[in-house]
Point group: C2
Chain length 299, copies 2
């Protein structure tokens, strides 16, 4: 059982590696390297095996430059039970070489169901190992629905990152809805996430309860930092979605591990823009981005 | 490939069976019937096998009295890839005996990821059969994120039920946040869901785009019906959560298939309050509730 809180484990990794980079594992079959794509057309089991090999190759390649990997559950679920087996294999492999695993699953349901999601991904299994160190979750169902995730933070040293302001265009439809007190909805959620996280602040001053905030909105990143001073921020949108490391510099004012930048396509599919081997291309992209983010963070 | 829209298939089933009941499959290991619970302690593969046998037994028992089953993904995911295999088996079995399958997964992510969830659960597989006829999803990420689910409605005759006002206590924390125009957030979402569903209204006058509204709030059910006149409503909360069929009568004013009531624990674990076999107890509970809902619906 992990007893050290997630933010302290994250901070240790950030300090040791001088990196705040998380690489997202979004194994889309249609853009896998040619040597694996051929296998993927032979049916679902073969495709899942190709996905596992691709992700483990990426994990090996980017390992020295990142603090965590973030497998996107949907791409594994798309291959059914074979895909879920690949997800378990990839997560176990990443943890075995010392990386943190943040499962991007965006789960959220009523309390008894959220408990089952915690059992699925955060509780230690028969060998005493959880699938993931942290998970992304939706706050839309309120406190009783998120409480099982908070309980996992207390009991298992897990982390949870709640969706607050996402980086996609449609996010404005709901998350920017203006409340009667003059704030957009996402700021109300930021306040809730801050409150939920207060009892779970670790030794390093950061909470086990984090927030997802899109890097594509630099002003929102600054405001999120202000509203949630002890909340680790998970920042997607740098790279393929157009944000730059400079856009998220303000996220790091609460400490070198107070935010992590996630990049997926721009790293794992970097080979598509070069003549390099896919592993070499991913390692190069991760090293460059990690260095840029570290410099922009000011630490 | 299914070409008939989901709401028309639902209406056909409701008319034929004179039932608007959906039974939720929430296979919690600790409350399985004794004959299966013993097996479940032998490890994850055995537990998944016990869960599949339990769910298929329930499907057989309640089949005559329900139009659909609603497997809760979390309880299968809690058993890892073995559990996902059981989920696939249970869904295929329910469809093979003529029931609709509404997968309760509450998925929702940015567009490219939502597409992977659609591939996982709504697109026909190699045998031309999807895992589920419909899925529950979160609207928190806005239009571009939900668009892949709408596309599945157009292309595959799928249905989607977006979370609008859930039945849990904490729902008020977020969903009742008051907007600057004087409406609670969930009513803004109801308006969006109505708009998203308008291009997807089937022959029977109901849309492929549905909404989840907790039966525990009769006033919200009436208001939801008014804001979303062509939206099928999925109503949890009758039974174990305390709502009665009379509480949801107003939901049916748009037609006999304009709403379905979902009950889980009060049906599938009915054996715990009787001396009956678990299948007999579930069948009895489903028959009674189905009759009560039909009477309350006024059709």
């Amino acid at each position: 059982m992990e007893t050290q809180p997630f933010p302290d484990r994250l901070a240790e990794a950030v300090g040791r590696k001088r990196s705040q980079l998380v690489v997202g594992l979004d194994p889309r079959l249609d853009v896998l390297p040619m040597e694996l794509r051929g296998e993927a057309v032979l049916g679902r089991a073969a495709a899942a095996s190709a996905v596992a090999r691709f992700c483990k190759g990426i994990v090996d390649a980017v390992g020295p430059y990142v603090v965590a990997v973030k497998p996107q559950a949907a791409f594994f679920e798309a291959l059914g039970s074979d895909g879920m087996h690949a997800l378990e294999e990839v997560c176990a492999y990443a943890r075995s070489i010392g990386l943190l695993v943040i499962l991007d699953a965006k789960r959220g349901d009523v309390g008894s169901t959220s408990r089952a999601y915690v059992a699925a991904y955060l509780e230690p299994n028969e060998e005493g190992i959880p699938v993931a160190d942290a998970i992304t979750a939706s706050p839309y169902l309120g406190l009783d629905a998120v409480e099982p995730f908070l309980a996992a933070c207390r009991r298992h040293g897990s982390g949870v990152f709640f969706l607050v302001r996402t980086s996609n265009a449609g996010a404005a439809d709901v998350q920017d809805a203006m409340l009667s007190d003059g704030r957009p909805l996402w700021q109300h959620l930021a306040t809730l996430v801050h409150e939920w996280g207060q009892p779970l602040v670790g030794e390093g001053g950061l909470s086990s309860v984090g927030a997802v905030v899109g890097a594509t909105l630099p002003r929102a990143v600054s405001e999120a930092r202000r509203l949630m001073p002890q909340t680790p921020l998970l920042l997607p949108g740098v790279g393929a979605q157009g944000a730059t490391p400079a856009d998220v510099a303000r996220a790091f004012t609460s400490g070198p591990a107070s935010a992590v930048v996630t990049a997926s396509r721009s790293v794992i599919f970097a080979f598509r823009d070069t003549e390099e081997d896919w592993r070499v291309a991913a390692a190069g992209a991760a090293e460059r981005l990690s260095t840029q983010v570290w410099a922009a963070s000011g630490w």
